[in-house]
């Protein structure tokens, strides 16, 4: 449709939509500023103890100190790298498992209950075992991140694969399609929205894996800094790392959302 063809009323409608969007963004920023302001004020006026609750100015100072010592980049990099690795390995592995189970009904029927049980098991319980098996290095942390995302990926994708419309599969069979063709031309493309939703979940999952992994073993990374900070009672450090973590997870989620937008098709 041509933009010129829009009626004045339609344009007014669009303008209103735009205005609402801007107002929402402004309110979001305002909320953040008020929150930071109250926090800062509360510690300054002694309503809460700045030593325990930290404050925006203390966080900022900690952040710049960490940065100038070169520590910030090192720790951020360590955690991000572990998370991305866990994210990719977990997603690809989970996907492969889902494909294998979808492909072979017998295998699916045998292994699906195990997958369901594994899914409800809190993977953190496996932490001590992982340390013994994979050592106390990065391998243990990545394993943790993989473990947390792989099961949910496999289960989500499998459910999606199995929900492919039977009549569409029948259509493929009228052309005498084989299993691989049915998968690659129908089942997989039909599940791209599902895959993207799973990726979004996995961003969170792999961060959980990385941070808990770092709690347990690491000598670097944001999880390590948080545990270290709490042990020596430097709560400014804990707060700073938590905030950095928020930003990183948000950034990663944002990239997946962007990817989703770029492949969105009209259903």
């Amino acid at each position: 449709m041509n933009f010129n063809e829009f009626s004045p009323m339609h344009l007014a409608y669009l303008k209103k939509q735009r205005t609402t969007k801007i107002v929402v963004h402004l309110l979001q920023v305002a909320f953040l500023l008020v929150f930071l302001g109250v926090w800062e004020l509360a510690t300054h006026l002694g309503w809460v103890d700045g030593f325990i609750f930290s404050s925006p100015s203390r966080v900022w100072k900690t952040l710049t100190d960490l940065f100038s010592q070169g520590d910030l980049i090192k720790h951020v990099w360590a955690s991000t790298w572990e998370t991305i690795l866990g994210f990719f390995i977990g997603t690809v592995l989970g996907m492969l498992i889902a494909i294998i189970l979808w492909w072979n009904d017998m295998v699916k029927r045998v292994f699906e209950p195990y997958l369901v049980v594994l899914n409800s098991l809190p993977k953190i319980a496996l932490g001590p075992l992982i340390i013994i098996w994979a050592g106390t290095g990065k391998a243990a942390i990545v394993t943790m991140a993989v473990l947390i995302s792989v099961v949910i990926t496999a289960l989500n994708m499998l459910v999606g694969f199995c929900q492919t419309e039977p009549s569409k599969i029948l259509l493929m069979r009228t052309f005498k399609a084989n299993k691989a063709q049915i998968f690659f031309k129908l089942v997989f493309p039909a599940n791209i929205p599902n895959l993207l939703a799973t990726l979004k979940i996995n961003v969170g999952m792999s961060w959980v894996g990385t941070i808990t992994g770092e709690y347990l073993v690491s000598k670097e990374g944001l999880g390590y800094l948080i545990v270290y900070g709490s042990q020596v009672f430097r709560l400014d450090l804990v707060m700073t790392c938590t905030i950095v973590l928020c930003l990183l997870a948000g950034l990663m989620y944002g990239s997946v959302a962007l990817l989703e937008k770029s492949v969105k098709f009209d259903q």
Partner: protein, 254 residues
């Protein structure tokens, strides 16, 4: 005398499930000649879809034989009840699906499919997604997807049932003219008497489940060139009455 392109003899199909066994088709015989347009009419649930699945060799008969004269690997084109266009593929890509799957996609077949789209008024919509075109157009796309593989025998399963009445008449005219121009032998299944009379040379009336052939009608309306003209013809009412009686009459007349 033209040859039989399809011959079914004494075909029975029984479905087994956990709780029951269903006889969907029982001792059914029929024949379709080259170039013929055959309609099979029967009440809902009588086993019509099962019959087409048997002809398309998607399922095996429990007993009986189904012979196709063609020995081409993809001799049968089957158009299902719904269009089932893939929403992520453009109209053009949807039409090429069968060719891709049967590994027959080359310059010539692609051109053939593309010409079909042009010829039947979809040339401007090649790059559109299925959600952007009307229900009637989608049905035409589904038909062209089936025709693109150039089958010797075309099977249509209630192809208009998903459309509203007005569109149904139009699309029926379209589909009929496409099939006639492409000169395809066709078996159309329906529960709509008027639809059957408006397109077919020969009509098989089936009983309630399990499907048996009750009666075969020869339709001599070939002088009318479109389904709509057939519907408006004098003889139409007579055929309708006869078939209506047969369809709703007692099964044990046989």
């Amino acid at each position: 005398m033209k040859n039989d392109i399809l011959k079914m003899q004494g075909v029975t199909k029984v479905f087994y499930t956990k709780t029951a066994q269903t006889v969907a088709v029982e001792n059914l015989s029929l024949a379709v000649k080259e170039g013929e347009f055959v309609a099979i009419i029967g009440p809902s649930g009588c086993g019509k879809t099962t019959l087409l699945s048997l002809i398309a060799k998607l399922i095996e008969p429990t007993t009986g034989s189904i012979l196709l004269s063609s020995n081409k690997k993809h001799a049968v084109g089957y158009m299902l009840q719904q269009d089932h266009l893939f929403p992520w593929r453009t109209v053009e890509k949807n039409v090429l699906l069968g060719l891709e799957v049967t590994k027959n996609l080359n310059y010539e077949t692609k051109k053939y499919a593309s010409d079909l789209l042009e010829k039947y008024g979809l040339g401007d919509f090649k790059k559109h997604l299925p959600s952007q075109i009307s229900g009637g157009m989608r049905q035409r796309v589904a038909l062209i997807r089936t025709l693109a593989t150039n089958p010797d025998l075309l099977l249509l399963d209630e192809p208009f049932s998903a459309l509203d009445f007005q569109t149904r008449l139009e699309v029926c005219d379209d589909v009929y003219s496409i099939i006639r121009r492409e000169n395809k032998t066709t078996v159309l299944v329906t529960h709509d008497i008027s639809e059957a009379i408006s397109v077919a040379d020969k009509i098989y009336v089936l009983s309630k489940r399990p499907a048996k052939v009750k009666k075969v009608f020869q339709c001599n309306l070939q002088e009318y060139t479109t389904p709509l003209k057939r519907r408006e013809s004098e003889e139409f009412g007579k055929y309708f009455e006869e078939i209506y009686k047969c369809l709703n009459g007692a099964d044990d007349e046989l």
